[in-house]
Symmetry: C2
Subunit: 399 residues, 2 copies
């Protein structure tokens, strides 16, 4: 086996598909079933403009996000054409909405910031916003339109990726929990993994794409580690018994968003909570989501609740992803996508496939180098191949 | 077969158990599984004092409710002893809580009313209420304590009733949807029922205890009809990961209630909606429940949501139950219990068993006579056995 991908979410499955297309033999090892973790819960916003943050890190992530958003239409078409499964891409743009004067002042600031970056964004008076989305409450104070921030349905994307992977010959093993990475050779490199029940699976290269569970895998040398924590998000799936039409665009507001699907379903999300691996929806979380949504889109009250769910976003210390080779030869990271996993999946797949093929990391990845999390060492040595990913420090095996 | 009971909820199963104990052979016909309908969703308050309403009907229902509440402890013990299943009876009383001045004025009025009826109820200042239940918000304005309004867990009651029925030889048929009542003889009387797929089940007497679905059964002559409609109630089941202790008593407030279980679980209910047989929880319903609960018991926000569910209460035009013989010989009603089905089940079982044995209806049942819904007829005839149930009008067959 050339490549083992640990994790069958949208990141792992996208990588597996692309790597197999590039001629490698690929197996995905998934602890539950493909797409049953974070990807199952994600709303599916492709929103680099809406999500952009102040500061240099924000700027670098924006560049990544814009690249990723541009990659999506071709990725979606290729998936749809090769599998016959629609991925539910809706190219209707996004509104950012202010519900009071504080929000409005903040939106003005966000508008100037985006204009300074030459991003496509338009200021809308309340009446203009309500012309676009008549379901918005009359109390809305201001809105911005980000016409290029679209959405997909991650559950459909995963269904398509499963088919796509099967059709090109990726082996996907469900209920295959990876317990540890195996090392060997001189200089030391990855030789495969061991599953929970002791089975060893050898491989030339291992991609860690296990999202928030990536940090639970033993055996990764300290210099190659990426600290990943779960960030709880509560989310609701709603359905309009009257069919589609209440909202056409993604509507974002302080503390949440409503993402329409084509068929009258909506995703209302999401809390952002540091609660470890806790997976239960709470009364407080549901209350917060419903309160904000009711205030901005009163018609939400007539929607049926189809599902309350909890997802765990993979967060790194700086909440930017870790994509690319680690300090340990053969070990490649593809995790830490935090709130942007769906957006970044096609681009991550392309970049990781390049890394698997031994190509140097492009400049685009500088903000994502796994090596930025390596602890400083007392005896720095020459870096071992990860330097192209942004200044990796020395390898320190065994920990 | 002596008796067919249509409906395997708490009313039907209680009747079946009691009737079998009285020596009759009994079959329960349940459209789904026993206790899977309204009883599965009910909170289980035994609250005649909290629920009492103004007016003469309210007074009569109060009498019924107080009788029923007094019957519960013995009913619960007998069930528990004969089956080994606890029914989760918590004898911790109820607080009625006012969250603002309007609520407080209304509670004062409710207090005087209950005092005029010599009911056990006590006025509590906010500090006294918070001494009893420290989780109440400091903003609580006033509270009443109804120390004798307790609760059971209807799911446990149903589990116990299933065992109790099995042990005495009641036959319970699941997935047996009754399509129509069969009539025959001179004078015309009930001869059994026909199931959805055509099977005929003969019986001497038929008890209609199908709750909100009772009105869907064909073949009931107009003079023997009880109009029953479904009244939607949305309800949440919550769980405190920290265990029991947030609340000990049932807490009721305008628009809802919180009922504690022994193990740190809580039932938060309920909306009251006229939406036909609609069974979907809605964003508006959940929002209303959560908003009110958060305001009165802020600690609710930390509780996990285990379940959102919808129940259909059986409501008659006056929202009082229909219990006892109809104008059609052999047809006995036991439905329309609306918000009080759990409270009234043991008493209903006793009263219906008396009616099945041919005993005259006690005065207690005067508010519940099914005959009050019979349409006035152009040619009144002698009534046919239902007169003891409160002035039945003439039989009018076929309709």
């Amino acid at each position: 086996m050339d490549v083992l991908v640990v994790g069958g979410g949208i990141i792992g499955m996208s990588i597996a598909w692309r790597a197999r297309q590039a001629g490698m033999s690929v197996t995905v090892l998934e602890r539950d079933g493909p797409g049953e973790g974070t990807s199952h819960v994600a709303a599916g916003m492709l929103a680099p403009v809406a999500e952009v943050e102040f500061g240099a890190d924000g700027r670098r992530l924006l560049e990544l996000g814009l690249h990723a958003a541009r990659a999506w239409p071709a990725f979606a078409s290729e998936l749809e054409i090769s599998t016959g499964v629609s991925v539910g891409m809706l190219r209707t743009g996004t509104l950012l909405v202010a519900r009071d004067d504080d929000d409005a002042r903040e939106l003005e600031r966000q508008l100037s910031f985006r204009q300074s970056l030459a991003l496509a964004v338009r200021r809308l008076r309340p009446s203009e916003a309500r012309e676009l989305e008549p379901a918005l409450a009359p109390t809305v104070r201001l809105a911005l339109e980000a016409p290029d921030d679209h959405s997909v349905d991650p559950r459909l994307v995963l269904a398509a990726l499963e088919r796509a992977c099967a059709s090109v010959g990726v082996q996907v093993r469900a209920n295959a929990l990876v317990a540890r990475i195996e090392l060997g050779g001189v200089p030391e490199r990855v030789t495969g993994v061991t599953l929970e029940h002791g089975e060893r699976v050898p491989a030339e290269q291992v991609v860690l794409a296990a999202g928030p569970w990536s940090g639970l895998i033993d055996g990764v040398p300290q210099a190659a580690t990426v600290p990943v924590r779960p960030v709880k998000g509560q989310i609701m799936r709603l359905r309009d018994p009257a069919g589609p039409g209440l909202l056409r665009r993604v509507v974002r507001f302080r503390g949440g968003y409503l993402v329409p699907r084509e068929d009258g379903r909506y995703v209302l999300g999401a809390t952002v909570e540091e609660r470890g691996f806790e997976l239960a929806p709470t009364a407080g979380g549901a209350y917060q989501l419903l309160r904000d949504a009711h205030e901005l889109v009163p018609g939400v009250s007539e929607l049926e609740i189809e599902e309350l769910s909890v997802g765990l976003r993979p967060g790194t210390p700086d909440n930017s992803p870790a994509i690319g080779p680690s300090a340990l030869p053969g070990l490649i990271w593809a995790t830490g996508h935090y709130r942007n996993g769906i957006l970044l999946a096609p681009l991550t797949a392309e970049l990781v496939t390049g890394a698997l093929a031994g190509e140097p990391a492009p400049a685009l990845l500088s903000a994502c180098a796994p090596a930025r999390f390596a602890p400083p060492t007392a005896h720095p040595e020459t870096s071992t191949g990860a330097s192209t990913a942004g200044g990796a420090s020395a390898v320190e095996v065994g920990a």
